[in-house]
Each structure stands twice: as structure tokens, then as C-alpha cells.
């Protein structure tokens, strides 16, 4: 019972964070066809921005939405400055890797200069602990486990049941045809980045509530998000969501049975094996599109 509860809880919790990160990466990839290596930095910046508002005296319940909105703006600006000018270039995938990496390094060092290297912590969403199935857990983590699926469901509903979401899905499938029905393609690119940055920022705020924040706190989650999208395929957003939870459970089970030490190595070994068998991901279909 203890093992089951521990794996379930650990899997759901890690899976939630991975899903929030991976969905943003996948959203940007499907709409624009580039990979954003500053995505981990978005996560970190979200936490720091929220921390700044909290230290100015705002309660976390206010600081959180404000920081998420600020992150949307940051995402938009990053897209407009280092991605949009490159659209149409033949080697865009590669060049965007380097420009987003450089932009990430810029933000990371900016944060270091502005807020200093000392570790910081955000208040929890909910204070207190409880025991479920013989495992002690914090209410903060339970809140994350519950909130994340709601946010992902909201994103899904936005993409599938609003006209703007429809426009985003359309751009992901055919840029020329989108222009010919009068869609503002550059604005939609900005929107995709803004949503991705908000989700990453939110994940950062969640993480900052139970772990110390550092300027490099986003690099490991970015890596995990990359693995998630390889597993889930980058051609949809539902694939990465399932993959995120799957990997969360895999990690939880691995660290329970083999120890924390071997978990990452096992994960990468499985990843490489899977790519040899199914390069387009477990849940992916053939086309590029949001669903």
C-alpha cells in the first residue's frame, strides 16, 4: 500500500510539473516549428517575478496571476525579438536554437545580477501537511496535483472551443492557408509564445513553493520537458500531456525500486530505445497540429 501510494503520488506530482512545461514547448513547436530553449528560463523567471511581488507585500494569491500575466508579456517579447525576425530563413530551426539559448543566458544572468545568487523561496499555495495512504504529503503538492489538470483542460477547451484557439490550430497546420483566411499569423505566433511562457512561469511558481529557487532552476525541468515531448511526440498537445504523467510514474517507480541514483540513466536509456522503435513518439500521429 505504501509503495503504491508513494508511486501514485510522486508520479502525479512530477507529471503535473512536466506536463505544464512540455505543453508549452509543444505549443510553440506545432504553431511555429521551432524549439524554444529559453523555456526553462521562463519557468525560473516566473518564480522570481512572483517572488518580487510577494516581497513587495502582495499575497501569493495576487502575486501568482500578476506574475503569470507578466510572463505572457515576456514570452511575447522574446518571440518578437529573437524568433519572428528569423521566420522564412532556411536554417531557422538551428538559428532559433542559438538565439533562444543566448536569450536564455541573457535572462539567467540578468536575474543573477538583479536578484543575487542567494536562494529564495515562495510561500506555499496551501500551508500544512496531511497523510494519504500512509504517505505524508504537503497540501501545496496536493494543490498542484489538482490545479494542473484543470489548467490543462482549460487550455484544451481554449484550443478546441474558441475561435482564437481554432486560429492557433489552423496556423499550426498550414501557414499560407491561414493567411488566406485573414489570420494574423505573427500575432498568433506571439500568442503561442505568451501561453507557453505563462504556463512555464506558473510551473516555476509552483516549484518555488516547495523548493529553493536559483537562477538555474529551469534547466533540469527543460530537459525533462524535452524528454516528455520526445516520448509524446511534438505534433500534438495531448501526446505530451499523457507522456508527462507516464514519465512521472516511471520516475517515481524507478526511484522507489532502483533508487534516485539510477533513475535518470534508466529514463534516458528507455528514451533512446523508444526512439529507435518509434521515432515519432508513442502518442504521435503523422501530422503536425494541435489537438
Amino acid at each position: 500500500m505504501g509503495a503504491f501510494a508513494e508511486i501514485m503520488f510522486g508520479g502525479l506530482f512530477q507529471g503535473s510539473l512536466y506536463a505544464m512545461m512540455a505543453v508549452g514547448l509543444a505549443l510553440v513547436w506545432t504553431t511555429i516549428g521551432v524549439f524554444n530553449f529559453a523555456h526553462g528560463v521562463f519557468m525560473m523567471l516566473g518564480a522570481y517575478v512572483a517572488w518580487q511581488f510577494v516581497s513587495l507585500g502582495l499575497p501569493i494569491a495576487v502575486a501568482l496571476p500578476v506574475a503569470v500575466v507578466v510572463m505572457a508579456g515576456v514570452g511575447w517579447i522574446l518571440q518578437a525579438s529573437v524568433v519572428r525576425p528569423l521566420i522564412g530563413r532556411p536554417n531557422i530551426v538551428l538559428v532559433v536554437v542559438i538565439t533562444t539559448l543566448a536569450a536564455g543566458s541573457l535572462i539567467e544572468n540578468g536575474v543573477l545580477t538583479l536578484w543575487g545568487p542567494r536562494s529564495k523561496q515562495l510561500p506555499s499555495l496551501l500551508e500544512g501537511n496531511t497523510v494519504i495512504g500512509g504517505v505524508g504529503v504537503s497540501l501545496h503538492q496536493i494543490a498542484i496535483i489538482i490545479i494542473t489538470p484543470l489548467i490543462l483542460a482549460a487550455l484544451w477547451a481554449f484550443l478546441n472551443h474558441t475561435r482564437l484557439g481554432l486560429a492557433l490550430r489552423a496556423v499550426a497546420q498550414n501557414e499560407d492557408a491561414s493567411q488566406l483566411v485573414g489570420l494574423n499569423v505573427t500575432a498568433l505566433y506571439g500568442l503561442a509564445f505568451a501561453i507557453a511562457a505563462s504556463l512555464a512561469g506558473l510551473a516555476g511558481i509552483f516549484m518555488g513553493g516547495y523548493r529553493f529557487m536559483t537562477p538555474v532552476m529551469g534547466s533540469d525541468p527543460l530537459l525533462k520537458a524535452l524528454i516528455v515531448v520526445v516520448f509524446g511526440g511534438i505534433s500534438s498537445i495531448s501526446g505530451p500531456i499523457f507522456a508527462a504523467y507516464l514519465i512521472g510514474f516511471f520516475e517515481a517507480a524507478c526511484s522507489y525500486y532502483f533508487g534516485l541514483y539510477w533513475t535518470p540513466a534508466l529514463l534516458f536509456a528507455v528514451l533512446i530505445l523508444m526512439l529507435m522503435v518509434r521515432p515519432e513518439g508513442i502518442f504521435a500521429n503523422q501530422s503536425r497540429g494541435l489537438a
Binding site: 475561435r163 481554432l166 486560429a167 490550430r169 489552423a170 497546420q173 498550414n174 499560407d176 492557408a177 491561414s178 493567411q179 488566406l180 483566411v181 485573414g182 489570420l183 494574423n184 501530422s287 497540429g289 489537438a291
Partner: protein, 237 residues
């Protein structure tokens, strides 16, 4: 009828390659306009430049008396100049219903959404039966219908069709030709690129032969023209 589109001295191309050389034409004076000529000589490039997908290097494009040469595709769609590109690639993972909503995306088209949808259902009753089906699951002819229907949802004042019957089986092609005739009778002027000369002659009183990236011959209404003459223009010289 009055002139709705004027193209003057248009030069355009991709990167360093110039495809159109000093091309001039107009549309609307005599109703529908047909473009024909060998493949790879600039018909599609002309249409892409008119709809703003491609930037003109020089020359001007005037729609309804206003210069649209430097405008974005979105602004041009907003004016009611709607382009149905060649090939029916469209949005493979959207349903027909989604495509129709997208067609009505521009603020100009939105108030007319319900009325245009009725029109589409009347012209393409086949689509109404598969309203929720994804585009990728449709046949080639049906996909072409979705493309044209999406354009109709944009409330066009001028509709550009680039080879609407390309690669279709004869039966479905006849069906589509009839639909295009019906759209034309509904009062929307057309610019049509087509390899099927019979269809083009029937539909368009005014024709342009586009060759080597420019208008080689203009055929005005009243100028009686035989099928064989057109064929010799195509292959002759």
C-alpha cells in the same frame, strides 16, 4: 460592370529569381477573367502576389480603386479579395465546420456568417452531410469544395480560383464546374486559372494568356475565339 482589380507593371518572384516581368492585367470590366498558359510561367505567382503572400518587387496592384500592393494578406482578405490556392491542402486536421468558422474570421465576414453558411450548404450540399468530418478524411473533390466553401465564408467581393479542377475525376469535376458557375451567377466576379479550356471559355468572357511571366495575349469578349486557336497559342509559336 466596372474594373475591380488592376495590375500594372508587376514584377515579382522568389528571392533572386524573378518570375513575373512587367505584367499588366485587369479584372471586372467584363465579368469573370480566365488565366491560362503553360505551367511554371507565373500564373500562381501572379495570384500569390495579388493576395499578398508574395511581395511585389515593383509595379502596383489596385483593388476597388485602392492601392493594395504593400498590404498584408490579412488586410487584403479584409477587403474581400479572396484567394483559393492551388492544391487542396488546406487544414487537414480541422473539421469542415471549423474551416467554415475560419473562413468567417475577418471582421468584415463575421456579420454575414449565417447567411454565407446557408449559401455554402446550398451550393455544396455534399459538405453538409459531413460537417463534423476532418478534412484529411475527405476525397480530393470534397477537399476542393471545402477550399472554395471556406473562401465563400470570407464574403468575397472578388474570388480567385487557382486550378479548381486539377486532378479530379471527370464526374466530380463536372459537379465542381457547375458549382463554380453557380457562384458566378450569385454575383461574385471570379479570376480563374484553369487547364480545361472548354470550361474557361464557358465561364469567362475575358481571357489572358500568361507566358514567360507576362501577359502574352489578351482576348476580350466579342473577339470570337476557337478552341483550336487557343491550343495553338499554348503549343504553337
Amino acid at each position: 460592370m466596372s474594373v475591380i482589380l488592376t495590375v500594372e507593371g508587376l514584377t515579382a518572384g522568389y528571392g533572386r529569381v524573378t518570375v513575373l516581368h512587367d505584367l499588366s492585367m485587369e479584372a471586372g470590366r467584363f465579368g469573370n477573367v480566365g488565366l491560362f498558359g503553360p505551367n511554371g510561367h507565373g500564373k500562381s505567382t501572379l495570384l500569390r502576389t495579388v493576395s499578398g503572400l508574395l511581395k511585389a518587387k515593383s509595379g502596383s496592384i489596385t483593388f476597388d480603386g485602392e492601392d493594395i500592393t504593400r498590404e498584408s494578406p490579412r488586410a487584403i482578405v479584409g477587403r474581400g479579395l479572396i484567394h483559393v490556392p492551388q492544391g487542396n491542402r488546406l487544414f487537414p486536421d480541422l473539421s469542415i465546420a471549423d474551416c467554415m468558422s475560419l473562413g468567417a474570421f475577418s471582421p468584415r465576414a463575421r456579420p454575414h456568417e449565417a447567411e454565407n453558411r446557408e449559401k455554402v450548404v446550398k451550393i455544396f450540399p455534399k459538405l453538409a452531410e459531413r460537417w463534423r468530418q476532418r478534412v484529411r478524411t475527405l476525397s480530393g473533390g470534397e477537399r476542393q469544395m471545402v477550399s472554395i466553401a471556406t473562401a465563400l465564408m470570407s464574403h468575397p467581393r472578388l474570388l480567385i480560383l487557382d486550378e479548381p479542377t486539377l486532378g479530379l475525376a471527370p464526374k466530380i469535376k463536372d459537379e465542381l464546374c457547375a458549382s463554380v458557375q453557380e457562384i458566378s451567377k450569385g454575383g461574385v466576379p471570379l479570376i480563374v486559372v484553369e487547364q480545361d479550356i472548354e470550361f474557361l471559355l464557358e465561364l469567362c468572357p475575358q481571357l489572358y494568356l500568361v507566358n514567360h511571366g507576362t501577359v502574352e495575349t489578351e482576348i476580350k469578349p466579342g473577339q470570337s475565339i476557337e478552341h483550336s486557336e487557343i491550343m495553338s497559342m499554348y503549343f504553337g509559336h
